[in-house]
């Protein structure tokens, strides 16, 4: 019998894998992929709570749809920033983007 806990643990595992990808990668595109995986884990949490909760209206699914929309906007802007960076510096490594460092 698959309960809420199974989905929550799967979601926690995905979130942690995404966190490692977002923190430990050198390429900015890979960092963005890790962030997307974390957003997906949050969506899984919302939909699972919606399925096992007692609320009649699918509020969790509605929140998941909004998160998907915001994530799509984030990917579009993030990739545009990365492309602009690549055009200026021929490099997408986040370790080299330290021009704000004093």
């Amino acid at each position: 019998m698959i309960g809420l806990q199974h989905y929550l643990i799967l979601s926690a595992l995905l979130f942690c894998i995404g966190l490692v990808g977002a923190v430990a990668k050198r390429n900015a595109i890979a960092v963005l992929m890790g962030v997307e995986l974390m957003l997906n884990a949050v969506n899984l949490n919302l939909v699972a709570f919606d399925r096992f909760g007692s609320h009649a209206a699918p509020l969790g699914q509605a929140f998941a749809v909004f998160i998907i929309a915001v994530a799509a906007a984030e990917v579009a802007v993030g990739l545009a920033i990365i492309l602009t960076l690549y055009r200026r510096r021929a490099n997408t490594s986040v370790d080299d983007l330290d021009s704000l460092k004093g």
Binding site: L13, I17, V20, A24, N40, R51, Q61, I68, A69
Partner: protein, 184 residues
């Protein structure tokens, strides 16, 4: 019982794809594994009876976001693709932090087990009652009916706001892409 087997198959696909996405040293392989993980998530949503979210997941993530990432990889091309996706110097610390956070979350989830067990029993009772009620009604009912009523009724204003956000984000992306062509 079928649901249990399907859950573990999909969970295995998702976790293996996600790990391969993070550990792969080739950025193109990472993008493909990311698409596979998103597709597995859509099947998990179907198991959770959220068919509308599953379809949106396939349309937006597998269809649009993955293609956008592949475009991003292609446009920031290197001479050789093999070594484009390395770990930075915080790799060991990041893996440690990820494992510690996962252990903490699993502990929190398993400790609160009694509450979720009650919730699952209640949800099953609700589903059973709904099933017996729907037995006399031959029209098929998915989650799209109730979620569209919610989105266009109670949440109409947030829905319009998210549309405005998407418009602003796409305009911003176009503006960024244009101004980058001639550095000032």
């Amino acid at each position: 019982m079928l649901q249990t087997v399907l859950f573990y198959i999909y969970a295995l696909i998702i976790v293996v794809s996600a790990l391969a996405m993070v550990l792969s040293r080739n950025l193109v392989h990472s993008a493909l594994f990311m698409a596979a993980a998103f597709l597995g998530m859509a099947f998990i949503y179907l198991l959770l009876q959220a068919d509308y979210v599953a379809v949106v997941q396939i349309l937006v993530y597998v269809g649009a976001v993955s293609v956008l990432f592949v475009f991003g990889v292609m446009l920031t091309k290197r001479a050789r693709m093999e070594d484009t996706n390395r770990f930075n110097r915080y790799g060991v610390i990041a893996v440690f932090v990820g494992l510690a956070l996962f252990a903490l979350l699993v502990r929190a989830i398993t400790v609160s087990g009694t509450v979720t067990a009650h919730a699952a029993v209640a949800a099953d009772a609700v589903a059973k009652a709904a099933g017996s009620a729907a037995g006399s009604d031959p029209t098929p009912s998915g989650s799209a009916v109730s979620i569209s009523g919610l989105l266009l009724g109670e949440m109409a204003l947030p829905l319009e706001a998210s549309g405005l956000l998407l418009l602003a984000a796409l305009t911003g992306a176009i503006a960024l892409g244009r101004s980058g062509s001639k550095p000032s």
